[in-house]
């Protein structure tokens, strides 16, 4: 199989999986086996591409021109590889989890659920492998629309309202700002290709380019930079597997990935350093980090707390991009992976509590740790990663981000990272601590008869928790990929 074919095949596989879901809808077991198989196959193909990328190749697939000069094109480069690896690995794992969750929770319309789930992965892979801004935008919007039925899965009044916020904010930012910035880029640079070192340098005055940067950063609504973050908590109305994969991994990571990709391949680090708005945007991200953590504090609903924690963590990556130095970009890129594994573990655990104990509120989880030790143990590990403590993967990305702030000489931003970690320490660890060490309320029997979540879900939780720890000991893969991305030569820096 040629390299180009391999890319096309990888992006199409989830679609094939989706078709399989439709065809096999009569027998749920076969249907789920179909998605699982497609998921594993997709991951396998992504590994094939990873091998090529590690060799220093940039596999490329050019389809046709949409309008003259603007083709649909895929190009696999190291940064995209990071995102694709994360999304394609976690898809089958989440499917495994979803099987237990959807059945345990007696959700309706499961076929539609698994169908759009698979389609959304195709969208995420399309974003990851896009070779120019147009292709990126195409799949970015595709992802918005095909996740809408997932977010509004319950079709209740609340789901409808949340769906409005979701679609409204994501489209308003992407059409209003991002598309404008893309067309502007096309007008200035005469190309929308992603290139090492960027395409915008020298095409217009610093003032104009600074404005375009702001349009891009706010235009990527999926990165949930405040004040365009409201869609993320709204989307938590979805079933937990959706929140887990799409709103901790695929959708939000597509957003921050886009920011990183634009920073590295459209502006280029050197140009970013000269723009006035780069540090403004870094501080906007810093503000989101702190505010997001503070709001997370106030939430008693576990999923809502995790949502605000996600908002806060996403801005770490935006911050990494806006530090405009290699360390920052490396840290940001690694954080895509590290945060994904940590946060998905947390969501899995939250969903497991919902299925097994029907509890959403943290204040009512006292003592639950004794009946569900695996779930809350995994939650503890995930929390460590998000806070950035060893032995969890999150400590590496935080380390590099911290280095980045030092390199740029912005001690204030380093302080923001520290404060945010401290806040995280409290609002995340509160959950397992209360579950393990607090006594259930006197005279209440509502924990009786509660067991761990369904087996498939439990397996998924263990896999992601174990991976979170493994990432601490073996982070080289991500580090090497990100080094390749920033050095731009295709060679691994020594």
């Amino acid at each position: 199989m040629s390299e180009g074919m391999l890319i096309g095949f990888t992006v199409l596989l989830p679609v094939v999986g989706a078709m399989a879901v439709l065809v096999l809808r009569a027998t749920p077991n076969m249907r789920e086996a179909g998605t699982l198989f497609a998921g594993v196959a997709t991951f396998w193909h992504v590994l094939g591409l990873l091998y090529l990328v590690q060799e220093g190749a940039r596999p490329r697939l050019e389809l046709f021109e949409v309008v003259p000069g603007v083709p649909i094109v895929f190009e696999v480069e190291p940064l995209g590889m990071v995102f694709a690896l994360v999304a394609s690995f976690l898809w089958p794992v989440t499917t495994l989890y979803a099987i237990g969750y959807m059945r345990g929770h007696h959700e309706e319309n499961q076929t539609r659920f698994f169908f759009f789930f698979a389609i959304a992965i195709a969208g995420a892979l399309g974003v990851a492998f896009s070779g120019n801004l147009f292709t990126l935008f195409l799949f970015y919007e595709f992802l918005t629309f095909c996740t809408f039925p997932l977010v509004t899965h319950h079709q209740t009044e609340e789901a409808k309202r949340s769906g409005r916020i979701y679609l409204g904010i994501l489209l308003a930012t992407s059409v209003g700002f991002q598309l404008l910035a893309i067309i502007w880029t096309w007008q200035l640079a005469g190309t929308v290709e992603f290139m090492d070192g960027g395409i915008l340098a020298g095409t217009a005055s610093v003032g104009v380019l600074s404005a375009i940067l702001v349009l891009y950063v706010y235009g990527v609504g999926k990165a949930a930079l405040m004040p365009f973050h409201r869609w993320l908590p709204a989307a938590m109305v979805a079933p937990t597997p959706v929140s887990a994969l799409l709103h901790a991994v695929a959708v939000v990571k597509a957003g921050v990935f886009t920011v990183l990709k634009i920073a590295v391949y459209v502006f280029g680090i050197d140009l970013l350093q000269t723009l006035a708005t780069t540090s403004w945007m870094a501080w906007a991200a810093a503000a989101t980090i702190i505010l997001g953590s503070l709001v997370a504090f106030t939430k008693d609903n576990l999923k809502a707390r995790l949502a605000y924690s996600t908002i806060s963590q996403l801005s770490y990556i935006v911050l990494g991009a806006m530090l405009a130095n290699e360390m920052g970009i490396i840290g940001g890129g690694m954080h895509i992976a590290m945060h994904a594994f940590g946060k998905i573990t947390l969501f899995f655990a939250a969903g497991a509590v919902m299925v097994a104990a029907h509890e959403k509120k943290i204040s009512r989880m006292h003592g639950l740790g004794r009946t569900m030790p695996i779930t809350f143990g995994a939650f503890f590990i995930g929390s460590l990663s998000i806070i950035g403590l060893p032995p969890a993967g999150g400590s590496w990305s935080k380390w590099f981000l911290g280095m980045g702030t030092l390199e740029s000489g912005q001690l204030g931003l380093l302080a923001v990272l520290m404060v945010s970690s401290l806040l995280g320490l409290y609002y995340l660890l509160e959950v397992p601590v209360k579950a393990f060490f607090f006594k259930p309320p006197e005279g209440s029997h509502h924990h009786e008869g509660i067991h761990e979540a369904p087996t498939t879900s439990l397996i998924a939780i263990c896999v992601t928790a174990a991976a979170t720890i493994a990432l601490f000991f073996w982070p080289e893969l991500w580090y090497d990929l990100m080094t390749m991305a920033v050095s731009g030569t295709g060679e691994v820096a020594p």
């Binding site: 046709f64 949409v66 003259p68 919007e141 629309f145 079709q155 489209l171 308003a172 209003g176 598309l179």
Partner: protein, 491 residues
């Protein structure tokens, strides 16, 4: 025969119209009309191929040498519009068979097909003729037949809608003929190419600006530019579904073509934009059209009416592109002619399916249709995405060019208006989607999916609106070349 193709393109549907009326049988009349529609599509496509190879075609009607006789002059712009008209006609006619049978009194069927063919031939005539008086004649043919088709709607309000359109349309046509008359008085010619040569000689005379003004008002009335759009919403709402789909995708488009013809080919860009400062009129009006009419669309309870207001807003996009007076702007306008025809055709056809099965297109009657009529509503969503301008749909391609044209002029704010317009489209499209997919269907009311004969044409247009959104190189090339010919004048 192929050398007479330019004339036959117009004459065949014109002559088959009385045949359709006289055969008296519903199905035979339909067969005659269908044959004529499909033939014109074939003829216009083969003309396009000829023009792309050989350049513009000049055809002397009756062998009279222009400028004395009537000349049919077909260049890339004309054939582009003719293909839109013929293609929409060819897709509408199989749709009409089922839809019209339900929505029009049975004994009027043959009359409907006769009027349909007359309208088709009038619209094709406008796009291929090179003679301004001939333009007026065809305009009247197409308009009169359109009035009668609208009046065929079973809803009695169709009569007032048609009457309103008749009055407004006739005012517009009179303005146009006055403009043409004034030009004739000054130059003694009616041939477009000849006018283009002679007009500059007399341009200092005040008569010419007056003629220009009459023509501008007349044509903008016909193409329903805000605030001269008042006839349009009622006409689109109460006409039979197939008629709405056809007229919405063709009649206003042909009027936009006329605008291009008069401003660029006949008066010339310099006169229109520098002496007359046309952009100062068109630009603000089209911006208001985009914003105000989208806003009005949001508040409509009848989905056909909603789409009608959306059409007025979309016409604003076309005119906005043209008002830039640049190659990029005119390209954007021309591309949107085609793209809007596809998406609005698809949307109105989807509404026709709803009309067929539900008997109403009021928004509250569409509760639960996502489940009951999945294919129809999926088509609506598809067309709606295009209206919003999501990438991989034709709407996106239009937006891409239009925003580029705005940025080229350095007008940030106008680029912003285009974006705001698409977000407003999101609101009014999603309003329908939410009702169809989030509300439970009425259990007492049995609703079935529309028949295939309605769904297939609808989906043909939806598919086209995705196809030309993913691979727009053909439309973009043709539109760019067309814009260059227009701005470069007649070669």
């Amino acid at each position: 025969m192929s050398e007479h193709l330019p004339a036959l393109l117009v004459v065949v549907p014109l002559l088959l119209a009385p045949v359709a009326a006289l055969v008296g049988r519903w199905k035979v009349a339909w067969a005659v009309a269908a044959a004529a529609c499909w033939w014109t599509l074939y003829a216009s496509v083969s003309l396009l191929q000829r023009i792309r190879v050989e350049g513009p075609i000049s055809y002397e009607l009756g062998g009279w040498v222009p400028p004395y006789g009537i000349e049919y002059r077909i260049d890339l712009v004309s054939i582009f519009v003719a293909i839109i008209v013929a293609a929409i006609g060819a897709v509408t006619i199989p749709y009409a068979r089922t839809s019209i049978a339900k929505e029009v009194e049975e004994d009027r069927g043959p009359l409907f097909y006769a009027a349909f063919l007359l309208c088709l031939s009038g619209l094709l005539g406008i796009s291929v003729t090179g003679d301004v008086f001939n333009v007026f004649v065809f305009l009247e043919i197409s308009s009169l037949s359109a009035y009668s088709m609208i009046a065929l709607g079973k809803d009695r309000r169709a009569l007032t809608a048609s009457f309103q359109y008749l009055i407004m349309g006739s005012v517009g046509a009179s303005f146009i003929v006055i403009g043409i008359g004034l030009m004739y008085v000054m130059t003694g010619t009616l041939n477009m190419a000849d006018l283009a040569v002679r007009l500059p000689e007399v341009a200092d005379n005040r008569t010419i600006p007056v003629a220009f003004t009459f023509l501008t008002v007349g044509i903008t009335l016909k193409l329903a530019l805000f605030p001269l759009h008042l006839w349009l919403p009622n006409a689109y709402t109460y006409a039979p579904s197939a008629v709405t789909a056809f007229i919405a995708s063709t009649a206003t488009k042909v009027s936009v073509y006329l605008l291009l013809r008069f401003f660029f080919t006949i008066f010339g860009e310099t006169f229109s934009y520098e002496a007359m400062q046309l952009d100062m009129v068109l630009m603000p009006l089209s911006i208001v059209a985009i914003l105000a009419m989208s806003l009005v669309a949001i508040y409509q309870a009848n989905v056909k009416r909603l789409l009608a207001f959306s059409s007025v807003a979309q016409i604003g996009y076309m005119v906005l592109g043209i008002s830039f007076g640049s190659v990029l702007g005119v390209t954007a306008g021309i591309i949107h002619l085609f793209n809007h025809a596809l998406m609005k055709g698809a949307l109105f056809m989807a509404m026709g399916c709803v009309m067929y099965s539900v008997g109403s297109v009021r928004i509250e009657k569409m509760a639960g249709l996502g489940k009951r009529m999945p294919w129809t509503m999926a088509a609506f969503v598809g067309g709606g995405l295009s209206l919003i301008g999501v990438p991989a749909t034709v709407g996106f391609v239009s937006k891409w060019y239009l925003v580029q044209a705005a940025l080229e002029q350095g007008s940030w704010a106008i680029a912003g208006v285009v974006m705001v317009g698409s977000l407003m489209a999101l609101i009014y499209v999603w309003k329908v989607v939410e009702v169809a997919y989030f509300q439970e269907p009425d259990p007492d009311h049995e609703i079935r999916e529309a028949p295939l004969s309605l769904l297939l044409p609808t989906w043909a247009l939806v598919a086209a609106s995705f196809y030309f959104g993913i691979d727009a190189s053909l439309t973009a090339d043709v539109a760019t070349q067309a814009a260059e010919t227009l701005i470069g004048g007649i070669q």
